[in-house]
Each structure stands twice: as structure tokens, then as C-alpha cells.
Symmetry: C2
Subunit: 334 residues, 2 copies
């Protein structure tokens, strides 16, 4: 039988995180947990893209600072983002002198990078690894949809790309005094495509991939949904979250009481946000701020974190393709 | 000290490969080692992008067929490519029901995927993994440079993107009768940028990153350059290959007699190819055809394989950025 789920032999720890977000995110319900906010949407740079690079570079720097480690202690950076050729990550990595492992699974990049980081540290091939990702409303909007200047009307099934970046430091060091959340297991997702062609309806497109990974992970670990305090999805939004609960329920699991979605948490969903937040930065910011802190406080002891990604490009959509999706699962415990 | 180089505890084997290329590659010096060629540049599809997806999907299918394994034995696909949001890989992965790990380091994707694959199989977290990448002249040209219909003149420092795809199957299974090349060690590269802004001069941009990884790998393994039969780089081309030899020589290593470049090998460099081949498919095709077969025959016993990647996008170049580059090294032995 194929080995879809990984059980880390020496579960590595997340010893610190760093988060940065924009002004809109500052108005949201979980803003008190986010470390820093930008005054300026371009973060002092000339373009939104350069601003996004600086955001990533900033949280990478912060996570090193928070950890008390020196630059020379960092073995690698694992990062990716939504921009073509993941330039935000690659250009951010240029500012640092440690190895760089570029990954991409759209908005599921945070959980993918955490699994690769856990792989490297669990077996002590490396000791300290930074995982980072982010997104920016203005870069995503003009790359995937329309020029910002057009001021296009957004349909009600749409989501609002989070302007934010998050990073965490995964380590296999031993600590006598402090307990940290550990990455104990994970499941790499499959690419699932139910034929959604509406590029504004990412929640509906991503829900089947997310449901598949949840069910696969529960089956392979022999766990019940009630073994987790929470099952946290990345950016399914309001509609996508309803669909994932239904799809998982059809397979015999009831996650209604324990499912939360980062996309539903980051904004006060009032008007233009419609289905909530999206983007690689959505789960990166919410996981590395709110959930990491709640795990540290032991408010939660066990969560399953599934960032969710839509693997389209503007070219694939223009050529009439539907939207294949993926979701990677990370099991955390303290 | 940072752990930049990985020594696999249970070196996994490459048990089979598959390669596919276009008509221009068929005229090249190593064509007899390439498994299959396409008659039609779109591989029967309506667009070049869909053709590229089909090429990747095809070599993934072939490598499974060659291995004698069933679909259910494959634990994961690790893939990436040059198209925005690595759509060729993601859409190819949609055709298969195993987990998918998307990676990106431009034309260094082949060696990055092999290192991640070796990590997963060395510790038996997974048993059989497919690594794949590819590129297409026509999709790369219109995405990174100019519309094909313009018929732009190419400058003499330019390279020709390889139309081709390659895949290999990494496994930790034991074989009593047959010996296979093993992945014994590897070094993830750093992002290095010497300030080259000419997007037609990828060889010069990539050479410093490649030289850095070669020197780092030799230092960390305590090996001398003469411990290898060959040091094989990805797609530096004629000019880049000269530069890498100079840069490595400045650090006290002489690789003049043992360095070869896949970009210099794949085409008869006559006129329009100028510096030779490039693209993620260049090293993917040449490594998985010529070098894999020469390793199997024990013509070579030990090679260091470094695919080389330029991490630019059309947006970063339009915004005046230079070209950050990376190269990941894989040490193979039989």
C-alpha cells in the first residue's frame, strides 16, 4: 500500500513564529495575535511585488531574531508564494546566506513547507529550518484577475487575498524548560479537480481536495475526528467550509463542531470580503499567530492544519482549464 | 555550523528513468540515449502549454511502466517546471492518484526534486517516488521573452530552451541481482546574485551560484574534485561553463578536465542555439538519458550532478531586478 502519511520518528518542534500583515487585516478579529502591521501597502518599496518580497524577508529576519539563533545556525529556508516563478520567496532568499528550497502548492504552501522542514529536521539531516510564505492582495489581484485600476466588481462567491506573511522556525534542539508544539505527522495531498472553472470560486474548487486529505489522514493514522481539538483549514472561505464539512460527512466523519477556516477568521466578513480571506498569506498569518499562540498556551493540544491551494494560472484558465486543487495536512501536538 | 550538505543514511536507488524530447533535440549528439521523440511540437494538444503538461504526464506514466511497479506502489510525485504556478506539473499530477509535492527552483528543479525524493525514501517514510520536470521552447519563449510570432532576433549570449521532459523513479527497495545508481549525498544551494540583468545571458547569471554549490559540496564532503568521474552542470551553456570553471579554480579546485554541461551536450551548437540548451527539461533529459545509462553501464561510477536555475520572472525583470540564481547538487554513485 502506498505510504501517503508520514509519522515523524523524532517529531521536531516549532520554536517560534513571526507574522506581518496589512491594514485591512489589522481591523480583523484576530489582529491582536499578529505581530506586526504595515502602515504602507508597499512596505516602503516602489512596487507591490517588491513590497511582498520585503514582507517575506522581514518575517524571515524576525523569526531568526525571536529564536535567539544566529544566521549561521539556520540550515535552510523553505518557501514559496503565489507570484509567477515564486519571485517573492526567491528574492527574499537572496538576502540570506543559507540554502533555499523553493516549494509551490499555491495557498497550501505553508503546510507543504512545514512537512518538508519536518522531514529534514526529524532525521537530523538539518537542525534549524525556516518555513515561510505570504501573499499580497494587490499583486495577486493584478496577476490572477484584473488590473487594480479597472476597479472590477467582485462576485459574491469571491474571496479577498490576504496581505500578509508568516514564518516559523522548525528545530530538533532539546529544551529543558519550555515545551513547544511538535509536528508529529503529515499527509501530502493529491491533486483533485471536480471541474470548477469559475476562478472566483476558489472555496468550492479547493474543498474536495481538502476533504480527501482529511479523510486520508484520519484513515491512515487510525484516528477519529474527535481526537483533535480542531481541524484548521487554510482558505476555503464560508462556502468552501460548508462544502468540506459535507464531503467529509459523506465519508463517515463529522467535523462540524471542530472545523475552523483561517479564511473565515482573518476578516470581519462584512461586504466586499464576501467568502473571507484567501492567499498563501492567509493560513500563514493565522496559523503562525493565533493557532501557534493557542498551542503554546495549551488552549489546544492537538490540531490538524490543512492549508488549501488552487493550482491554476491565468494561462490555464484562459485556455479553458478547470482548477485542480491540493491540500497538505500537518498534525501538531503539545 | 550550518548543515548544508546531506549524507543519506540509506542511499536510495534510481531504478529507472524515462525521457521524451522534440525534433530539434532528435538532431543532437545524444539523441540515441533519449527514449522517445514527439513528431508534433504540441504533442497532439491544442496549445503548447497543454502539450507540455502531456509531455510530463507521459514520462511519469513511462517511468511507472518501466519500473514494473503498479500505480498503487507509487507514494508520491515530486515535480515542478518553468510555467507560471508550475501548471505543467500540477496538471500532469491531476492525471494520477498519488500525492504531489510541487517544487520550484527554475532549471535546478530536477536536482531539487531528487534531493527531496531521496530524503523521503532514505528514511523509509516513503518507498517509491517519481521525480519529474520538463520545459518547452515555445511556452518558455512566449512566457519569458517575446511572442513567437514576432520572430525576434536572438543575441549571441542566448540559449535555446529544450523541449523535453525527464523523470526518474527513486526507490529504497532491495534488489538481489541488479545494481542501480544511488543518491549518496546532496547540497541544497543558496541564492546567489552577481547583478546580471541581461535576461538573455542566463549562463553568466547562473555560474556563480553553481560554483558556490560545487565548492560548498566539495568542502563539506571533504572530497577532492578528482574523486568524481564527472561534475555535470545543468544548463550553463558554453559561456557559463567557462565562467564556472574559472570561479571554482579561484577557490582552489580544478574541474577543467571533468566538467561537462548538459546545455552544451544536447544540441549541435551551430547557429541559432548559440550557447546551447537551457530550460528545466535540459538537465532532466540529459541526466535521465545519457548519464543514467552511463552510470548503469558503470562507464562512470561517481558523478556530481548540479542542475542550475535562474529565479527570475518577467515581472521581476520588468521592474529592473537582476537575476538571482541557484544550483542544487546531487552526488550519485554505483
Amino acid at each position: 500500500m502506498a505510504k501517503e502519511t508520514i509519522f515523524f520518528k523524532n517529531p521536531p518542534k516549532i520554536i517560534t513564529t513571526a507574522t506581518l500583515a496589512g491594514n485591512k487585516e489589522k481591523q480583523g478579529p484576530i489582529s491582536e495575535f499578529i505581530d506586526e502591521f504595515m502602515e504602507d501597502d508597499k512596505f516602503g518599496e516602489k512596487t507591490f511585488e517588491k513590497g511582498e518580497t520585503k514582507m517575506l524577508s522581514h518575517v524571515i529576519g524576525k523569526v531568526i531574531e525571536n529564536s535567539g539563533l544566529s544566521l549561521g545556525d539556520i540550515d535552510a529556508l523553505i518557501a514559496g508564494d503565489l507570484l509567477n516563478q515564486i519571485i517573492s520567496s526567491s528574492f527574499a532568499a537572496r538576502n540570506y546566506s543559507f540554502p533555499y528550497i523553493g516549494v509551490y502548492s499555491a495557498c497550501s504552501t505553508m503546510s507543504e513547507s512545514m512537512l518538508v522542514g519536518a522531514l529534514l529536521t526529524s532525521e537530523k539531516y538539518m537542525d534549524n529550518i525556516i518555513c515561510a510564505t505570504g501573499s499580497h492582495f494587490s499583486t495577486a489581484e493584478r496577476q490572477f484577475r484584473y488590473p487594480l485600476e479597472l476597479g472590477c466588481t467582485r462576485p459574491p462567491q469571491s474571496q479577498w487575498t490576504v496581505t500578509g506573511a508568516g514564518a516559523c522556525l522548525i528545530s530538533n534542539r532539546e529544551f529543558a524548560q519550555i515545551e513547544f508544539p511538535k509536528i508529529v505527522a503529515g499527509t501530502f495531498g493529491k491533486v483533485i479537480d471536480y471541474g470548477v472553472t469559475d476562478v472566483n470560486n476558489m472555496g468550492a474548487a479547493m474543498a474536495p481536495a481538502c476533504a480527501d486529505t482529511i479523510v486520508t489522514h484520519l484513515k491512515n493514522t487510525g484516528k477519529s475526528e474527535t481526537d483533535y481539538n480542531l481541524i484548521v483549514t487554510g482558505d476555503l472561505g464560508v462556502l468552501g467550509s460548508r462544502i468540506v464539512k459535507d464531503l467529509v460527512w459523506e465519508k463517515g466523519y463529522d467535523i462540524n463542531a471542530i472545523h475552523v477556516d483561517c479564511g473565515e477568521m482573518i476578516f470581519n466578513i462584512a461586504e466586499e470580503e464576501y467568502q473571507g480571506g484567501s492567499g498563501a498569506g492567509c493560513s500563514a498569518v493565522v496559523f503562525n499567530s493565533f493557532f501557534y499562540k493557542k498551542l503554546l498556551e495549551k488552549k489546544y493540544n492537538k490540531i490538524l492544519f490543512l492549508a488549501t491551494g488552487a493550482l491554476l494560472s491565468s494561462v490555464s484558465s484562459a485556455q479553458g482549464e478547470s482548477v485542480p486543487c491540493i491540500s497538505h495536512a500537518v498534525e501538531l501536538e503539545i
